[in-house]
Amino acid sequence: MPKKRPGHIPGEAGLWIFLLGDMTLFAAILLAFLWSRRSDPLGFKDAAHQLIQPIGAVNTLVLLLSSYVVVRALFAHRAALYVDARRLIAGAIGCAAMFAGLKAIEYYASISAGHTPVSGQFFNFYFILTGLHLLHVIVGTALLAAWQLMCIRRRAWEGTQRVVEGIASYWHMVDLLWVAIFALVYLVSAE
């Protein structure tokens, strides 16, 4: 495996403006959520208990797995093992599909129990945070599919490094944001 130069920016510098900007926006919404919780901690606690925590936890594990698989896929692509890379990327896309499916079940359960985005502060933030995150998952899945296409065409690492690292970094951001959402919206609110 070729040794990486010291101080290599994954993807490219400009991409990190987008990633850090995106993370900051999410952080602002999460902190606004916590701020809003201060005015009604018990109400939030009751509402948080309406969420199906196991689904949230499983989704966290699914995304962590998908991130791990994406890292291995990146190693495979770097080593020109295109078949391995394709399998791993397909695995990551499968994880994303599972996440979306579980999310759909969760939304259906919440809405049929009468909790909509306009029924109270907690569910307001819950649907907006998870909805925005789900949009990111969809965009990320499209990017993974584009990477899959590159591997199918056996595009070499030298020409695609910037794009592939960018796609991988975007996916890790999607994972990282969900870790924060799970911790704050599912767990902390219920405590």
Binding site: E12, A13, G14, L15, W16, I17, F18, G21, D22, L25, A28, I29, A32, S36, P117, V118, Q121, N124, I128, L132, L135
Partner: protein
């Protein structure tokens, strides 16, 4: 001359921001605009300071239209990026023009509300709702414009504009996503005056205007081929440049084929058949 026009248009970006903000400060829309949770009395009393409000809003209606020259100069540079099929350029021009209208109409409507401050308060509140929601919620033209610019920059092999500008455009587009939520909420951070709706969009759109204006100004200053709108006439005594490859490819004149008798022609034909 062209460079000067282009530079002026690029300054349209920051000019939009400055003039519109000044107008809003005069009208009282800034620092705290009317919100969906404002009471009927608050809305009516805002528009009752009619001279100041009309003056300020009229200035802002002119200010937001400086976005049109910016869209044009972005388009000129996107043509350079794309080449023969400037689809993203067209997309940016169309949606950029739409964004200008989406900014202009609501402000004109607000000015009209202040035209007759003594109308039925319910009508004032309704018109104010229309104006604000029309202003905040149409995200699609803005997002498409930003994404078109970003994609064109990333695909540009000549690096007309720096690549980080593409990512700023993507981030700005993303920041508009929550805005339709203003339809659903009458108060809180996702109402039209909410921090994640009005204030976020104002901040990021301002960043877009300033970043595009300044980076385009820099690109115009550094570009060399823009002022050549009239090429100098060719000098007749200068030697014509030779293109050795083309010279080599000129087919040599064919030698005239000798005329043959029909019998010899048939013999030739049978010989070629048997080959």
């Amino acid at each position: 001359m062209t460079k000067r026009v282009l530079t002026l248009c690029a300054w349209g970006g920051p000019a939009t921001l400055v003039i519109a903000l000044i107008g809003w400060l005069i009208a009282g829309v800034l620092p705290i605009p009317l919100g969906s949770e404002s009471s009927v009395e608050q809305v009516v009393s805002f528009y009752s300071h009619d001279t100041r409000v009309i003056a300020g809003l009229a200035i802002s209606t002119i200010g937001v239209c400086f976005v049109f020259p910016l869209v044009a100069v972005i388009g000129v540079h996107m043509v350079k990026m794309e080449g023969r099929t400037p689809i993203l350029t067209f997309l940016q021009l169309i949606t950029g023009a739409a964004t200008g209208v989406c900014l202009l109409l609501p402000l004109l409507l607000m000015t009209t509300i202040a035209f007759r401050p003594d109308r039925n308060p319910e009508l004032t509140v309704m018109l104010n709702d229309i104006a604000w929601l029309l202003f905040i919620t149409p995200i699609a033209p803005f997002m498409i414009q930003n994404v078109a610019i970003g994609v064109a920059i990333l695909n540009d092999k000549r690096q007309t504009l720096p690549r980080w500008v593409a990512y700023v455009n993507f981030w700005v587009a993303f920041s508009f996503i929550p805005d339709p939520l203003a339809f659903f909420f009458h108060s809180g951070p996702f109402a039209w005056r909410g921090i994640f709706i009005f204030w976020l969009a104002l901040t990021t759109y301002s960043i877009f205007l300033v970043v595009m204006g300044l980076t385009l100004r820099k690109a115009i200053k550094e570009s060399s081929d823009l002022d050549a709108c009239r090429l100098p006439p060719p000098r007749h005594d200068a030697p014509q440049p030779t293109n050795k490859l083309r010279a080599a490819r000129v087919p040599r004149r064919r030698r005239p084929r000798p005329r043959r008798s029909p019998a010899a022609g048939a013999q030739e034909a049978s010989r070629t058949h048997s080959r």
